[in-house]
Symmetry: C2
DNA sequence: GTGAAAGCGCTAACAA
DNA sequence: TTGTTAGCGCTTTCAC
């Protein structure tokens, strides 16, 4: 096409000039068709913007007639409120920042799912920020969210997070901060967690009740509170049942299928083998089952239990007994508590701590 | 404590007055400690806000000395830019709206994960909105995001979505719209998808190559394009191999473990049983394996293949052959394309369509 | 290279 | 019940 016109250099230039003007004209058109504001509505109705604002926000002291007129005109003119502008004056964005280690981890995806679903009902949106298990990224996340003027932050700490000063900034700005699941002792703030000590206790106790006596535990090297707590619960149950706490039955490794697999192979080399193995999470438990399968052992011959109730746990063969982490409930509790924190009319409550109770799901892998 | 002071009614009132004043004083303190703005920096440095703004945004025509002074002062005064204010003037929020059916679905969680990770590097945040497979909610999502003045929207359609006018609004506002995975014929917009027809073909072809001849298919009743496409690919492979396309081998049901379980039981009642079964997704495939297990059949005796490469597929026994949906790659491609769309300097490209190639992951369930 | 000034679209006193 | 007015904190012309 262009080549068709370009019979000479001048013609070619003309074409380009034409294109240039045309382009600007198009842009002009786009610019002219700008969005309608409350100001436009006001002009159309011969009232002032404040009246329009009040009508639209359904604020008291507005006559039905004008409110209806405004609403009708707004619809007619295809008006869409600009939250950015209203945020600037009101100081509220109705956006909540959510920091999680990774949306790819099923537990966090589920919490985020529940959070968003719940908060939406109250007019809040969420900005999602992933720390990807990095402290530095988590710090940047807090900055990013505060710059975006979020109304508050809900976060679960990265594995790396060993200092929490970046979260203090949130409180300094007078904005609510809520920590869930992965907390930190130095961080005084409202939180929603699950009783991990009890989860560990529950898992171990269940095995004991099923008649298992030599219970091994494959967990992570990471010094995260929740894993330490689970281990503490394990110890408590073992002691309570007056069983021996054998160091050779505690395997530290990766929190993964491979971790479970390797750990199990190691355990099976003991001359006095365990008769049950607890996995640090369901993936570890899956690795345990795989390793047992390789040795032609099928649970519940050796009992296996996991943590987290992954979507597959119910369906593998044998189905996996596990401790449910109540992700949906945790999301809902977070949302509920957070809305309470946002409502500053209520007294500045001492940091409220919600602790959920884990749930034992008995399935085939421990059913003797 | 209070009771201690309240020896008389007047004393009591005094106490309350004291508390009241004290409270106001506290509030005053909080109010006074307001955030520093570029105006404060300007005053401190005896320059104007425009200079500060330019220095902070590292805009040309600013002397090194003043820029350094401003930056130093900003740090000293603990300045934090207010993106809401800058958005109001600049018209850009650096926030992108992401609409997915549910963050709880692993595929979408992974795409969101990749998206956020990628876009963050370019200064963008994302607001997450879940349609929860509801058209109405999806429509509200578009409105919410546009009101929040997002710079554009990336979306994957809900199962219910049979009309797409709500997405036209996005384009009307001159904002980029990108649809991924679940698209709609009526919606003309850039998209990132996977070649589902080929995925179906690939799965079927693989089974045929492995020597299976009587291949059944358990899929969903939902009229979603991607499932229809996979089925089309199945048909193509069957025809190409000159096999019979048997209606009794096509089971429509739920896309779930139960759906696979029920469908398989039905298939096994045929006098001429299939020797391989394709599941509409990995959960269906899991149900298939469970049902076969009940009948004491273990794949690959009857071959089983799924779609999506869920996290468990690799680890169940037998491990599941599946077609990977390239979720991470899809997220990355979406981000990449979207950044291109945001960069309007580039010509208004005709709706670009990125089509990813699915990936066959051969595992035990089909390894004859 | 810097300053002055006009908004962006809306809210929220304070008046009337 | 409605209008007037002054910003919210920042960007961005247009001068100088």
């Amino acid at each position: 096409m262009v080549r068709f016109f370009c019979v000479s250099a001048t013609a070619c230039i003309k074409v380009f000039i034409f294109i240039y003007i045309y382009k600007n004209f198009l842009e002009l058109l786009l610019t002219v068709a700008k969005k309608t504001t409350i100001y436009d509505i006001a002009k159309e109705l011969n009232i002032t913007v404040s009246t329009v604002s009040r009508a639209l926000n359904n604020i008291s002291s507005i006559s039905d007639s004008t409110r209806e007129a405004v609403v009708a005109m707004a619809k007619k003119m295809n008006y869409r409120p600009n939250k950015v502008a209203s945020s600037l004056t009101s100081g509220k964005t109705y956006i909540i920042g959510v920091i999680v280690p990774s949306a790819q981890i099923h537990f966090f995806a589920t919490v985020v799912h529940a959070l968003e679903k719940y908060l939406k009902r109250f007019g809040y949106s969420i900005i999602l920020y992933q720390s990807n298990e990095s402290l530095e990224s988590e710090q940047r996340g807090v900055d990013t969210l505060l710059e975006a003027q979020v109304d508050g932050i809900i976060a679960s700490l990265s594995l790396e997070t060993d200092e929490v000063s970046h979260f203090e900034k949130v409180k300094e700005e007078g904005k609510p901060l809520l920590i869930f699941d992965r907390t930190h002792d130095l961080l005084r703030s409202p939180s929603v967690t699950i009783d991990d000590e009890y989860a560990g206790y529950m898992a171990t106790k269940h095995l004991i009740d099923q008649g298992y006596r030599k219970i091994a535990y494959i967990t992570t090297t990471h010094q995260i509170k929740i894993f330490q707590e689970r281990y503490a619960g394990y110890q408590r149950a073992i002691k309570e049942a007056k069983l021996k706490l054998r160091p050779e039955f505690i395997i530290l490794g990766d929190l993964s299928v491979d971790g479970g697999f390797i750990g199990t192979n190691q355990l099976l080399q003991e001359k006095d083998r365990p008769d049950a193995i607890i996995g640090g999470d369901d993936f570890v438990a899956l690795g345990i089952i795989k390793a047992l399968h390789k040795h032609e052992i099928t649970p519940p011959t050796i009992g296996v239990i996991g943590f987290a109730n992954q979507s597959f746990s119910e369906h593998i063969i044998p189905s996996l007994t596990t401790i449910d982490q109540q992700a949906v409930q945790m999301g809902n509790e977070c949302a509920k508590l957070f809305l309470k924190l946002l409502d500053k009319s209520k007294a500045i409550a001492p940091d409220e701590q919600v602790v959920l109770t884990p749930l034992l799901l008995e399935r085939e892998s421990t059913k003797k």
